[in-house]
């Protein structure tokens, strides 16, 4: 038995802003935005909640595709959008606060979408 029902709608990139606007007007709060790298595509999920009703919007875009920011509707989305940019190299257009790759200050340059692992064997052999 599922703890809660979770609806995911696969949408086109062009429909994103309209759908997010509708959710904002209906009183949903932004829960999170995250990115998953699937071969040569990126799957981006936008999650919303209203009184424990969980809604998820999903877009599937190419790695170099520029996506619009939703910070005009959800001011706090800058944290997730900058995170996606720094970790996966997603180009987000029109962010209210754009850190230009310095939100997550790591010694290694962003993005991290092609992770490197130091070794497969025991750490003594690395």
């Amino acid at each position: 038995m599922k703890i809660e029902e979770q609806n995911t709608a696969d949408i086109e990139l062009g429909a994103l802003i309209g759908r997010v606007e509708a959710l904002k007007e209906a009183g949903f709060r932004l829960v999170q935005i995250h990115c998953t790298k699937l071969d040569d595509r990126l799957e981006i999920n936008y999650s919303f909640d209203r009184n424990y009703e969980f809604q998820n919007l999903r877009i599937n875009v190419g790695i170099e595709t520029e996506i619009p920011s939703i910070s005009g509707m959800y001011w706090g989305s800058f944290a997730y959008e900058n995170e996606m940019h720094d970790l996966f190299g997603v180009q987000v257009k029109g962010m209210n606060i754009d850190f230009h790759g310095t939100f997550i200050r790591t010694a290694k340059k962003y993005p991290f979408r092609e992770p490197e692992f130091r070794g497969e064997g025991p750490c003594q052999e690395r």
Partner: protein
Amino acid sequence: MSRKIVMPFGPQHPVLPEPIHIDLVLEDETVVEAIPSIGYVHRGLETLVAKREYPEYVYIAERTCGICSFIHGMTFCQGVEQIMDLEVPPRALYLRTIWSEYSRLHSHLLWLGCFADSMGFENLFMNSWKLRESVLDVLEETTGGRVIQGSCKVGGVRKDIPDTVLERMVEDLDPFESELKSLGEVFLKDNSICSRTKGVGRLSRKDAYDLGAVGPTARGSGVDIDLRKTGYAAYKDLSFEPVTSACGDCYGRCEVRVRELFSSVDLIRKAVSNIPQGEIEVKVKGNPDGEYFSRAEQPRGELVHYVKGNGSKYLVRSRIRTPTLTNVPSLVKMLQGCELADVPVIVLSIDPCIGCMER
């Protein structure tokens, strides 16, 4: 018009248990803008999902945070269990609830100590942490670990708590609760604390909701979001109402945490009195194929573990959205217009867990 200067706050600062950097734009002593940046303890834990089999990843999920480690492990396991349609035995769900509430007690007492320390109230800091020790003793006795418990697994839990120990735990809650009362009174009634917290770091109910605040940060502004209401683990069987405060300032957030300590004690009592006998784990066969957004209420607020599997023993994606990350926009809002001297108290009031946030 006064000149604007930028003052760096952190990443190393006496009140910060972990590193976060905030550029404070000041006009005289007033903060007009706060710009956060993170990344000093980014460990790439989400990426490790490609290198660890999903049952092993529970240990990594637990190490996301050194305070609410149990709840991280449980939320990850819950996600995998939902994908695989596993029926976790009821006793395991009750044990998870008991350990979750002890984690909340441990976390809130730790925070109360740090909060007192941020105001220079050293005696109160030590008293809070003294009380926290007794909670850690219970976690150590029942799981084997004070900080990293390692007692949760996909399909249930690794250890049972004998009934005699459960009875003693409940008996010990009486003196513990009476000490909590004395401690809570200082936090809520002491003049020095009231003058440092009331009206400081204001966040309206509307702003809290619009900015996506969660946990005591949202509830301290009157937004009653508490994921325990979704009924995961054994919460569906335990009557429970979220604790809120209408103050919308540092005092409100402190009040919520103090009152949640008593709520956790109540939940532990109810869980122990209702815990059923039986198995503590179910046998797990196969690999997860599907996705689920597993949500739970951490001491700092809503935690999301997104789990996506493709039928192999390695998951495609694990995304951990911790409450501190979603409370950062609210923090930025709270800091605008505050006095420089109040910045440490306001930053602490969201209970920032940076290791958790950066993963």
